[in-house]
């Protein structure tokens, strides 16, 4: 990987790696991947990982997402012990088993999806988020089952479900089992819908393939983060199929809003307040 001029100037002990590993002391500075501005990390964190120069929404981990979103002291993880089983003994250039171990080591997560019960400004909810760094946030049997557990709590306690998606789609290493998670998650959402329990889907960068073509597009309310890539087929696949240049801003949140696929785009810093306000109205609660 090329080292930028800036990183050369920083003493090696505070230099950050492209892929930051857990337990390794991270640098004080971070570069905005969009405008290349050098951002003071503490300040960036206070700004919820949104570049304060260009408003670019940096990708964040599942845990960080839920930490930002749920009230402190109310968070309680759900189904945290579910782990993948390699029932197909899938092997490509690497064994699926080994890929799992590496992803677990790099992210500290057991799989690509984290579910927590908690409150937002006092409103009880279940919230879930994808860990994109875990095999591209891919959807497998663990993700699907955790989604069901999350929805089942919502069904039992009649509280809303909020899901933050960030995923490349189905996990190929789980083959048809991963495809079936689309049906599984959509079915439980039908149950919630029939009972009138709100489900809000927040599509963050990127939300593609089988995730976008199932629960992510089924929200009573669908919200995009600014400039997030959202679509069914990947832009490269489309370019190869239609053999023409893709229009500017294609498959970005703003494009989807224009075409009627999203209800709104929310800045990460306004997400929680707006969500509370909307949910309270859907739940017929006083403001």
């Amino acid at each position: 990987m090329a080292i930028s001029w800036f990183e050369k100037l920083v003493p090696s002990r505070i230099r950050t790696d492209g892929v930051s590993k857990r337990n390794v002391p991270e640098g004080l500075w971070q570069k905005c991947p969009k405008c290349n501005a050098i951002l003071y990390k503490a300040e960036l964190e206070r700004n919820l990982d949104v570049c304060f120069k260009c408003d670019h929404h940096l990708r964040i981990s599942a845990r960080r997402r839920l930490e930002i979103f749920l009230d402190e002291g109310t968070r309680e993880e759900v189904a945290e012990n579910i782990e993948a089983v390699d029932s197909l003994k899938f092997k490509d250039s690497k064994k699926y088993k080994d890929r799992l171990v590496i992803a677990q080591k790099n992210t500290g997560e057991k799989d690509s999806f984290v579910v927590m019960k908690g409150q937002i400004e006092g409103v009880p909810v279940v919230a879930a988020a994808f860990e994109f760094k875990f095999m591209g946030g891919s959807m497998g049997a663990v993700m699907g089952e955790k989604f069901i557990r999350a929805a089942n709590i919502c069904l039992a306690e009649e509280i809303p479900l909020i899901v933050f998606s960030a995923s490349g789609g189905a996990r190929m290493q789980e083959a048809l089992f991963s495809l079936m998670q689309m049906a599984k998650t959509s079915a439980v959402l039908k149950k919630m819908s029939d009972k009138g329990i709100p489900y809000v889907s927040v599509l963050t960068d990127p939300t593609m393939g089988g995730v976008s073509a199932s629960f992510a597009m089924l929200g009573d309310i669908c919200v995009g983060e600014p400039k997030a890539l959202i679509g069914f087929a990947g832009p490269r696949v489309i370019e190869q199929t239609v053999r023409e240049k893709l229009p500017k801003g294609f498959q970005r949140s703003e494009f989807l809003l224009d075409h009627g696929a999203l209800d709104m785009i929310l800045d990460r810093r306004e997400m929680k307040a707006k969500m509370v306000s909307v949910l309270k109205m859907l739940l017929n609660k006083t403001p």
Binding site: S93, A183, S186, V188, G234, I238
Partner: protein, 320 residues
Amino acid sequence: MNLDYLDFEQPIAELEEKIEELRNIVDDSEINLNDEISRLQEKSLALTESIFSSLTPWQISQLSRHPLRPYTLNYIENIFTDFCELHGDRHFSDDPAIVGGIARLNDQPVMIIGQQKGRDTKEKIRRNFGMPKPEGYRKALRLMQMAEKFHLPLITFIDTPGAYPGIDAEERGQSEAIARNLFEMSSLKTPIICVIIGEGGSGGALAIGVGDKTIMLEYSTYSVISPEGCASILWKDAEKASLAAEALGITSDRLHELKLIDEIVKEPLGGAHRNMEDISVKLKDSLSNSLTELTQIDSGQLIEKRYQRMMQYGEYKDEA
């Protein structure tokens, strides 16, 4: 090379050609070659049996896309009566990559929805190679809801490389269209039987594939991604498609073992396209049996069973 035969079938094609030549000689002259012809026919049969007794997943994948393979409209014509095609999604247009309508199976009125590929170049293009756009899935949804309204069991025929990956499809909400069908099919109050007749290509296939029973024709495939697509992503080489086909477990026998499908309908020797009548009779039998079985279950129970079936998809371990 005979284009009616796949690469691995070429030895059969050569023999069949020889038989054809001999037949022409017989027609033109008085020489009796019947013994020779029947000897070659036996040989061709034995060769076909031997080739088809040990097909690889990649070969089956090619068979599932065979240019002569029967398509949805062929089965509709051969199995059902009184078919009346219904068009359009009532919002945007009519997608020729999905056909649908009402018909009778034996005497029972049913709703049919299926992906449709084209046979010649012109029709292939018109049918978009069996790759539906959102309006196709929305037409399907309209027909599903009509099926529910009039208590018609729903039979779907799946045969698509996948949902169309195009600019217009994305603009009109391909993801939402697929998702909406999964959502609605999960509790549609009528029996749903899904048959994979050729290619079961990922989300584009599943969007008409949620139901009470999934049947696969022996040489059809069902997969989260095409072997070529998987190979180019995971092996960074589309040429490794045969390895990917193996690893993905896309064939009917493997998926039956994994309990992801319910039933396999055996194809005639050489594949469905070699004997359309035989495969139609077998599929009709299978559909009739499933229909009898499913129409006896009351709709509340049927939907609960369908739901439980979906909940058990996928293995995981839970240490708690």
